[in-house]
Every structure is written in structure tokens, then in C-alpha cells.
């Protein structure tokens, strides 16, 4: 079987899997961004309880493995009466995990805004909320974007693990094809290439574009 014939036969399945991977990535990214912003801000709070809660969340999710978290959410949560469908369990686990890493980026980005900016906003009698939303966060966002690009690639890679709870993503399809045909190089190799294209031809250019737009908006072009 030539590689062309292989693609002819199994290409559509691989593409279906890639669509599922893309969906998992999008949903997990949305969740991760939300969690990152909330937890990142909580980590800057002076309230010990708020700060402590965020710290525990971040340390637990960063201190254990994504795979462990996926299994736990899928197999153990039902024992607490919370049964999630495998597709949902998949992106929630990935989103919660990467959100913990993102929270540290948010925190670091906000702290990197020069002190003078905080003082200037305070001197203009801005409330803390307005100061954060209008002055600090936009500047922090610009600094955060490059590391978020890397984090989103990590997130895409992380979604490959949802195949292990039988979500029919790209990884799952590649394994299935491998299991029935034993054409391992073709099956896994094609999947690797598709992941690479998604990382470098979709996520990276998108983040570059976003950076350009943000830079222009903030007048730093």
C-alpha cells in the first residue's frame, strides 16, 4: 500500500479525528483562559482566603499529571454523583490543567506592568477595578501573548490524552488505524504531521496576528 493509497483510505477518518481535536482544543482553550484570568487575579489578592484558594488550585493542577487528572475526572467524579460524558470530561480536564499554568502567566504579566502605571492611575483617582481593566490589564495582555502562544500549543498537545478515555480525536483515530492495519509509521506519522500543522500553521500565525493587532491598538507599533 503506497502512502497515497493509505491517505485515500484513511484520510477522511484522520480528518474527522482532527476536527474533534480542534473542537477539544477550542473548548479547552476557552475554559483555560477563563480560569487563568480568575485564578491569576485571585493570586494577586490581599485576602488570604482568596489567595490561598487560588494557590491550592494552581499547585494541585500543576503538581499532578494531566493524565491523572483526566482519569480522575472521568472515572472518580461519577462516584461523587457528577458524571460527565467523555467528550466533556476531556476538554474540562485539559482546560482546568492548562488554566492553572495560564494563571501564573496572568499573574506574571500583571506584575510586569511598571509601578509608575499603577501610581499614575491611582493619582487620577481611578478605582482599583477601572485601573485594572483600563490601564493595567491591556498592558499586561501584550506582554502575556507570546507565552500564551506556547501554552496554547501545549494545550493542543494535551488534548491528545483524551484519546485514552476514548474520545475519538486524532490520536484515537491514529491508534485505531494502527490497531487494524499495523501501518504504524503511516498512521502515527500522519497524525504527527497534522498536529504539527495545527500548531505551526494555525496557532502560531494566529497568535502572531493577535500580537500585531494588540500592539497597534496599544499604540506601540
Amino acid at each position: 500500500m503506497t502512502y497515497f493509497e493509505f491517505l485515500n483510505t484513511y484520510g477522511p477518518q484522520l480528518l474527522d479525528g482532527a476536527v474533534t481535536t480542534a473542537l477539544q482544543t477550542l473548548l479547552a482553550a476557552a475554559l483555560a483562559i477563563g480560569i487563568a484570568v480568575v485564578m491569576g487575579l485571585m493570586r494577586l489578592s490581599h485576602n488570604r482566603f482568596v489567595y490561598g484558594a487560588a494557590t491550592v488550585y494552581i499547585e494541585v493542577f500543576r503538581g499532578t499529571s494531566l493524565l491523572v487528572q483526566i482519569y480522575w475526572i472521568f472515572f472518580v467524579l461519577p462516584l461523587f454523583g457528577l458524571t460527565l460524558e467523555k467528550f466533556t470530561a476531556g476538554y474540562i480536564a485539559v482546560g482546568m490543567n492548562l488554566g492553572a499554568y495560564g494563571a501564573e502567566l496572568v499573574r506574571g504579566g500583571i506584575l510586569s506592568v511598571p509601578r509608575g502605571q499603577w501610581e499614575a492611575a491611582t493619582a487620577l483617582s481611578m478605582s482599583p477595578a477601572i485601573r485594572m481593566r483600563r490601564i493595567i490589564f491591556p498592558q499586561a495582555l501584550l506582554k502575556m501573548l507570546p507565552p500564551w502562544g506556547n501554552l496554547l500549543i501545549e494545550l493542543l498537545k494535551g488534548t491528545a490524552l483524551v484519546a485514552l478515555i476514548s474520545v475519538t480525536d486524532l490520536m484515537f483515530v491514529a491508534r485505531k488505524i494502527n490497531g487494524t492495519t499495523y501501518l504504524s509509521a503511516q498512521a502515527f506519522g500522519s497524525a504527527l504531521i497534522i498536529y504539527y500543522v495545527m500548531s505551526r500553521s494555525v496557532i502560531t500565525p494566529f497568535m502572531r496576528w493577535l500580537e500585531r493587532v494588540m500592539t497597534r491598538k496599544l499604540g506601540r507599533a
Binding site: 491523572v68 498537545k157 494535551g158 504504524s184 498536529y195
Partner: protein, 224 residues
């Protein structure tokens, strides 16, 4: 609904702890491979030969942009297709070593590039040889910068070892899965696995942070 059984925990804990040994071993072996291979990747990207430069950069990019779990499958299954059979351990170590070598090469590179240009110029103005410049001036200053990244990836490799379970390496996750399907109970094994990971990775990370601060202090550098 909530039914935590301590007797079961006592029953399975020794087995899990034994598997933890394998997990730690896998992390150490994988890191050793990655640390050396990463240096090769980093230096290859600093050579003047453009084709070597480009090729290594592309390979590093590719490895970094694709999932480790898929790479583990790839290494494990592609060998036999061409008549080379690798044990799960060998395949796992190759995959994890390669994956993290690509990360570490970037850490090394960033460390070297993070040394200010003035340091190279001062070394030049004092006529220090290239070997001395690297060994006495540049690398000592690159280490504190690189150390944080190297430490993060050490903890990272440790947390990625559960992926080795997919090809049957008898580490912690694999053992927990086995226990789970033997007893039809997943609560205790999976929770314990999470706990063991936390119990190892948090102190390790804290220790590495303190070590980093100590290195910086010893070298007379400002704390980060």
C-alpha cells in the same frame, strides 16, 4: 456515594509505592538523555554551518509541536514495522528523552543568549580565548538563567511519565490502572496516584527554587 476505604488503601499502597520507584527511575533516565541530547541540539544550532543549523532547528520545532504520547506510540510501534523491536522501557526513554531534549536545547540557548553582549565584548577586549570565554565567562552566567528552566522540565518530565503506561511501562499510572480493573475501584488508586505526584513534585519544585537562589547568591548575582 462517597465511599473511601482505608483498608483498601493500606492494601494497595505498597504496590503503588513500588511502582513510584519505576516512575522516578523513568524520570531520571529520561532527563539524563534529554540533558545531554539537548546540549547537542543547542550547540548544533550555534554552529556556522547553515544547513545543520536549519535542520536541527526544524527537528526541534517538530518535536516540540507534537504530542509526547503520540511520539511514544510512534517510537514503540514503528520499530517492529521495520524489524526493530524495542522494549517498552527503551521506546519510552527514547521518546521522552527526545521530547525533552528539544525543550532543554531551547533553555540552554536562551541561557547563553541571555548573557549581555557587553560580557562577550569585555572578554574580547581582555583577549580571552573562545574556550575560556565560554567556560569562565559565558556558561557560569548562563547557568543561573537556564537553571530555572532545567528545573521546571525536570518536574515536567516526572509528571509526563504516566504517558509511558500506554505502552505498558509498569510505572505508577499503569499500576493504578491494573489495580482499578482488578478490583473495580478507581477512587483510591487514582486519588493516591495524584497524591503521590503532589508529594514528590511540590517539594522538588521548592527545593529547585532554593537551589537556584543559592546558585545566584554564590555567583554574586542579584536574586530574580
Amino acid at each position: 456515594m462517597f465511599d473511601w476505604r482505608w483498608a483498601f488503601v493500606a492494601d494497595i499502597l505498597p504496590r503503588l509505592l513500588k511502582a513510584t520507584g519505576n516512575t522516578v527511575l523513568a524520570a531520571l533516565l529520561g532527563y539524563g538523555i534529554a540533558a545531554i541530547l539537548g546540549l547537542v541540539f543547542a550547540l548544533a544550532q550555534r554552529t556556522a554551518i547553515a544547513s545543520v543549523n536549519r535542520t536541527v532547528r526544524e527537528v526541534v520545532e517538530f518535536i516540540r509541536s507534537t504530542p509526547l504520547v503520540l511520539q511514544i506510540f510512534f517510537v514503540f510501534y514503528v520499530g517492529p514495522q521495520f524489524g526493530i523491536t524495542l522494549s517498552p522501557w527503551a521506546a519510552g526513554m527514547i521518546a521522552i528523552g527526545l521530547h525533552y531534549a528539544s525543550y532543554l536545547s531551547e533553555v540552554y540557548r536562551a541561557g547563553i543568549e541571555g548573557v549581555p553582549k557587553g560580557q562577550w565584548e569585555a572578554a574580547l577586549s581582555l583577549s580571552l580565548s573562545p574556550v575560556r570565554t565560554y567556560s569562565r565567562i559565558i556558561i557560569p552566567q548562563a547557568i543561573p538563567t537556564a537553571f530555572a528552566g532545567m528545573g521546571n522540565y525536570f518536574v515536567g518530565i516526572f509528571k509526563d511519565t504516566p504517558m509511558l503506561s500506554v505502552i505498558g511501562v509498569a510505572e505508577l499510572m499503569h499500576t493504578a490502572n491494573a489495580i482499578g480493573s482488578e478490583h473495580y475501584r478507581f477512587l483510591e488508586p487514582y486519588t493516591l496516584v495524584g497524591g503521590i505526584f503532589l508529594a514528590i513534585s511540590l517539594p522538588t519544585a521548592a527545593l529547585l527554587r532554593r537551589l537556584e537562589a543559592r546558585i545566584r547568591r554564590k555567583m554574586g548575582l542579584r536574586p530574580r
